[in-house]
């Protein structure tokens, strides 16, 4: 029997959507990392209550743009580090612990059959998905501008303030806040973060 050549789709197309892991204490993993319970259990403050709008009213420094209060800056950094650690722990970003898989530790279930073309979870953007037992949702429709066209070069031309390092324009500050709030809302809705 020949192997199917199309992407495999992990669901039977139930109208109410699919979720992986029926509770936050269930374990999930991607790309070969050992499955974990929801990595971060502490909820983070929302950077913005809606995507596309920053709650931060950038300061009016003469040489750089930053944040008006320490709370706003702390919220932003906490949100970014939480998303970063979440994606690393789940295996969606590099930098977590990639355990060598052997027959002896492969006690968890593997949810794809190893098609060389890959596996899809949800066939279209309006499909409903959820993780760790949250109610499945469709993908957020908000499109964000790229902060950087590559991951290693910053679009930001860093300001040269004498006492603090910040951003050169208010546009850069707004872009960072929009991306963080969108990513944060995405991961929260999917149940990957709380």
């Amino acid at each position: 029997m020949t192997q199917p050549t199309e992407y495999e789709n992990i669901s039977y197309n139930a109208p109410l959507g699919v979720f992986d892991g029926s509770a936050s204490t269930k374990k999930l993993g991607f790309y070969g990392v050992l499955p974990v319970t929801r990595p971060i259990t502490a909820s983070t403050n929302d950077i913005s209550t809606t995507v596309g709008q920053s709650t931060s009213t950038a300061g009016g420094a003469t040489t750089s743009w930053g944040f008006k209060s320490q709370v706003e800056l702390t919220n932003l950094i906490t949100a970014v580090s939480t998303m970063q650690l979440t994606l690393k722990a789940l295996g969606l970003m590099a930098g977590g612990v990639d355990t060598v898989i052997t027959r002896s530790n492969e006690t968890y279930e593997l949810l794809d059959y190893g098609s060389t073309d890959g596996a899809q979870i949800g066939k279209i953007s309006t499909a409903l998905l959820g993780f760790y037992g949250v109610t499945p949702v469709a993908r957020l429709v908000t499109t964000t501008a790229n902060i950087s066209t590559t991951t290693t070069v910053s679009l930001s031309t860093i300001g040269t303030a004498t006492t603090t390092w910040a951003f050169a324009t208010v546009t850069e500050v707004a872009a960072i806040c929009t991306v963080v709030s969108t990513a944060q809302m995405t991961l929260k809705r999917l149940g990957l973060m709380v």
Partner: protein
């Protein structure tokens, strides 16, 4: 045969968990995007070593709060763009 009305759960409830793709070179996608291998293979510096404590000692600018060093702001921008690219490539963000 009637279609089940509840959410479907992928997995048979193994206590050791569920995994998608058994290596970083396997391809995965969400919401109909074309499956990709792990989008970013280089590890990024942690913006913070803990999620509730910031490594940034915010400066005491008169008009704005910023960062105490260029390294901190570079780590933040790299972290955000990496998260953004990862979520877009996987189809989790538009």
């Amino acid at each position: 045969m009637a279609q089940p009305l509840e959410n479907e759960t992928a997995g048979y409830n193994s206590s050791d968990g569920q995994m998608f793709g058994n290596a970083s070179t396997k391809k995965i996608a969400f919401y109909g995007a074309t499956p990709v291998t792990r989008p970013i293979t280089a590890s990024t510096n942690n913006v913070s070593t803990a999620t509730t404590v910031s490594v940034s000692t915010a400066g005491v600018g008169l008009a704005a709060w910023g960062f105490a060093s260029q390294v901190e702001i570079t780590n933040l921008v790299t972290g955000v763009s990496t998260v953004q690219k990862t979520l877009k490539d996987l189809g989790l963000m538009a």
